[in-house]
């Protein structure tokens, strides 16, 4: 090893610390301050996983990731609305609403990702009648060209609703400007993920996670600067590779894992080369083209240039094949399935992934989590045992 241990650049640490803090704030103070500074602007909440944020932004509003509340609030009211077998994020998101913490939002967008999320959108409609609550149908028949065309029509419907609320009818240029801005953010995040894969000691999964999460809680114009600053600072970051196994982490695409859990897995001896944390906010594998028909381009990109996902059922190729291909490309040693408790899409995927990984002789570990977990002893010992079995095999 050629590197020398020195004090880390404090600038990066400060960025990650402030991002982490932002992600722990159930009052959304950063966004509220931004709204105060921009009179007349409104904000729209986006429930996971993928939301066409460009439509909100081009309508002159601020898209925000409303993605549960971790350990930050206690669930007092939502428990009586959603049963014990429903995942935590559904309950904490509703709790945010029932405790008036989402009053500053003009509306909420939900999408066809799973059954509880779908019913949650109805429960929001009934309990918060002043809110603009919409439900986006993402098609599931990508083998047919009909699906892409349909999605563009669906985007138009959503856009019509948004512009009624904002009072601004976006032009093609407005939409393309928003696409370009989010392209820049997504490209920056893709680059950070590339750096993580190539040199995982340079930036941890926990750090890129808190950064991505912060990006869902602030104006994109501000966030793009932060992403680019991180990219500028990273090459100078002193670091030293450790003796760790290289893993791909899957299954945490909706409910947010506690940062402490990600750190626990890393400290147990894993370099997480890639993951699906907040995948919906990093959805596209390349830039959305800037052309004359932005809604068509967004729909086309959703269908043709998006990451595979537990909530996108594409009969053209299997998700397990994607996962195994990623393991090979990134030269990973193993896969960790980190699925949220009660998350049917992730838990169903696990059954398919497990079979395919076994057949491909790729070691794997299932870790179930809840956003509200704060003690990680069990995950630590499971991850450590797993790492040891690989290191000393």
């Amino acid at each position: 090893m050629v590197t020398t241990p020195v004090q880390e650049t404090s600038k990066l640490n400060a960025i990650f610390d402030s991002c982490r803090e932002m992600g722990q704030d159930p009052e959304f103070n950063v966004a509220k301050r931004w709204l105060e500074d921009h009179p007349g602007k409104k904000a729209i909440g986006c429930f996971p996983i993928h939301c066409p944020v460009e439509l909100i932004h081009a309508s002159g509003m601020l898209p925000l990731g409303i993605i549960g509340a971790g350990t930050q609030i206690e669930v007092t009211y939502a428990d009586s609305r959603f049963q014990s077998f429903v995942c935590s994020i559904v309950k904490t998101t509703l709790e945010l609403g029932l405790t008036n913490r989402l009053k500053f939002l003009e509306g909420m967008l939900f999408h066809s990702i799973c059954d509880p999320a779908r019913n949650l959108s109805s429960v929001f409609q009934r309990n918060f009648p002043d809110m603009f609550v919409e439900y986006i149908h993402f098609p599931q028949n990508f083998a047919s060209p009909l699906a892409r065309k349909y999605l563009a029509t669906e985007y138009q419907r959503i856009l019509d609703g948004l512009q009624q609320r904002s009072g601004h009818t976006p032009t093609v240029d407005d939409l393309n400007r928003s696409i370009a801005l989010y392209n820049r953010i997504r490209a920056g995040l893709r680059e950070i993920y590339r750096i993580r894969t190539d040199t995982p000691h340079m930036i941890s999964a926990a750090e890129s996670f808190v950064l991505t999460r912060a990006g869902t809680l602030m104006a994109p114009e501000e966030f793009v600067k932060i992403v680019e600053e991180v990219l500028a600072e990273l090459p100078g970051r002193p670091s030293r590779p450790k003796d760790r196994i290289r893993v791909i982490l899957e299954g945490s695409f909706c409910e947010l894992p506690p940062v402490g859990l990600i750190e626990t897995v890393e400290q147990a001896g894993c370099y997480i080369l890639d993951d699906d944390f907040l995948r919906g906010w990093r959805w596209f594998t390349e830039d959305v083209p800037i052309r004359d028909n932005p809604l068509h381009e967004l729909a086309e990109s959703y269908s043709e240039r998006a990451y595979y996902s537990g909530t996108k059922h594409d009969t053209r190729e299997t998700k397990a094949a994607h996962l195994i291909q990623m393991v090979k490309e990134k030269k990973a040693d193993a896969v960790i399935m980190q699925a949220a408790k009660f998350c049917e899409p992730a838990l169903f995927d696990y059954a398919l992934y497990r079979k395919a990984l076994d057949e491909a002789k790729i070691p794997h570990l299932l870790l179930e989590f809840e956003e509200k977990t704060w003690i990680f002893d069990r995950a630590r010992s499971e991850a450590e045992t797993f790492v040891e079995s690989l290191l000393f095999d």
């Binding site: 059954d115 779908r118 019913n119 009934r126 439900y135 028949n141 083998a143 009909l146 009969t315």
Partner: protein, 424 residues
């Protein structure tokens, strides 16, 4: 106090007819599994284009019906456990697990041998688990999968969006091409129209049967007896047999209504039931209500595969559009939660119910997630006494008989008490 009423053992002519007809349907599945029958098309119950499948002389296979039959016959648990061994979670839908377990156990059941699929037609109507389920069956069987994407009924108006109808119709046209390739013959439009007519008339009779429970007493239990009629409605819809069954069923039920016969000696409480039944313990569950003289006069579960009592009919003049409307609009699963509240409220008001019983099942989050909010709405906003109880539709481990019975008893005791107070 709960009255010790005799158990409901209502067994009419149609019960035997149902057994015969469904027996023949399962014999057809077994024949197909032996390569001596029709092509097997896996499909889902909730709003489907079975009329097209019938038009091509293919055989619909319903994994949901097979799974529930396994539960009724108390065969589900070992299969669920086998699937959990494979990596399925205790929190995954147990219909899927029982079906996957059965698939890997040679597809043999006490009622039929289930054929391998020739086509997996995922008519994704509302339930996201359907997508997972058929994705998995596709991987295991290597059969071709067609995801018939039915947009969720998500707009507040009474009609689905025009683009949604158009999108589904266009996909049905694609599906016709798929079926034409598989069968080597083109669609016989006249035949399709005849099938649509059969479905239309079947729907008309079913709708009339459902309205009979507005009578007092209701001639049958719209939850526990409806499930007997649902099998022919789904497995035989669009066939001459299916229509014959409903002609008989209407005759029998109408006669019972005219004679003021109900399923219990005395109808004391009229309830609306929400949610699927606990198939492994159907008898025990029914008895919990029968002993209180509680009869279901309407249920949402009997509308998972279609809602006919508010006017929908399959239309031979517009076959594809009416199939699309059936999938988009006229079934319980593709409707949003608030539309379900409305449906329940209509039953309470128009069928005359004393209470709402919500049976919340862990397996089916489409049905159950958020039913606490539903209870809130009915009790606080509408003042309808509401009972919310939990178990499962397939997994016997989640059925706690004593606990459920206590809850049911406490609920009806309190209803009875309120009645006494009003009388005084």
């Amino acid at each position: 106090m709960a009255q010790v009423t005799p158990k409901s053992d209502y067994q009419g002519r149609i019960h035997n007819l149902q057994k015969d007809m469904i027996g023949r349907y399962y014999a057809n599945l077994t024949a197909a599994s032996e390569g001596k029958g029709k092509k097997a098309i896996y499909m889902l119950i909730s709003g489907n284009p079975v009329e097209l499948i019938e038009a091509f002389d293919m055989l619909p296979v319903y994994p949901e019906v097979n799974a529930l039959q396994l539960a009724v016959k108390k065969q589900s648990l070992p299969l669920i456990l086998a699937a959990e061994e494979m990596g399925y979670s205790t929190d995954n839908c147990a219909y899927v697990k029982a079906d996957v377990g059965m698939y890997f156990a040679g597809r043999k059941t006490p009622f039929a041998t289930i054929p391998e699929p020739d086509l997996i037609l995922c008519n994704y109507v509302g339930c996201n688990v359907y997508l997972q389920w058929f994705e998995h069956l596709g991987e295991y069987s290597k059969a071709p999968v067609y995801n018939l994407d039915v947009p969720f009924f998500r707009t507040p108006g009474p009609e689905p969006l025009a683009e949604d109808i158009n999108y589904v119709v266009k996909q049905l046209e694609e599906l016709i091409e798929v079926l034409e390739r598989m069968s080597g013959k083109s669609l016989d439009y006249k035949k399709l129209q005849r099938i649509m007519q059969l479905s239309g008339e079947t729907g008309e009779l079913w709708s009339e049967i459902k309205k009979l429970t507005r009578e007092r007493p209701a001639p049958y239990d719209a939850y526990f007896d409806s499930v007997m009629m649902m099998a022919p409605l789904y497995c035989l819809r669009g066939t001459e047999d299916g229509l014959r069954f409903f002609q008989e069923a209407y005759k029998e039920m109408k006669q019972r209504a005219d004679n003021h016969e109900g399923p219990l000696p005395e109808e004391k409480f009229r309830v609306v039931m929400e949610g699927p039944p606990p198939w492994p313990f159907l008898r025990q569950f029914r008895d919990m209500f029968s002993r209180w003289g509680a009869v279901a006069i309407a249920s949402t579960y009997s509308t998972v595969g279609g809602i006919w009592e508010f006017g929908f009919r399959h239309d031979p003049q517009r076959p594809l559009e009416s199939m699309a409307r059936h999938m988009l609009q006229w079934n319980c699963t593709n409707r949003n939660f608030l539309q379900r509240y409305k449906q329940l409220k209509d039953y309470v008001d128009d069928w005359g119910a004393d209470a709402l019983v919500i049976h919340s099942v862990k397996s089916c989050r489409l049905f159950s997630a958020g039913q606490g909010d539903m209870r809130e709405y009915f009790t606080k906003q509408l003042n309808v006494p509401t009972l919310l109880i939990e178990s499962d539709l397939e997994d016997p481990r989640y059925f706690s008989e004593a606990q459920l019975r206590n809850r049911v008893d406490a609920f009806f005791e309190s209803l009875e008490h309120q009645r006494t107070l009003v009388k005084k």
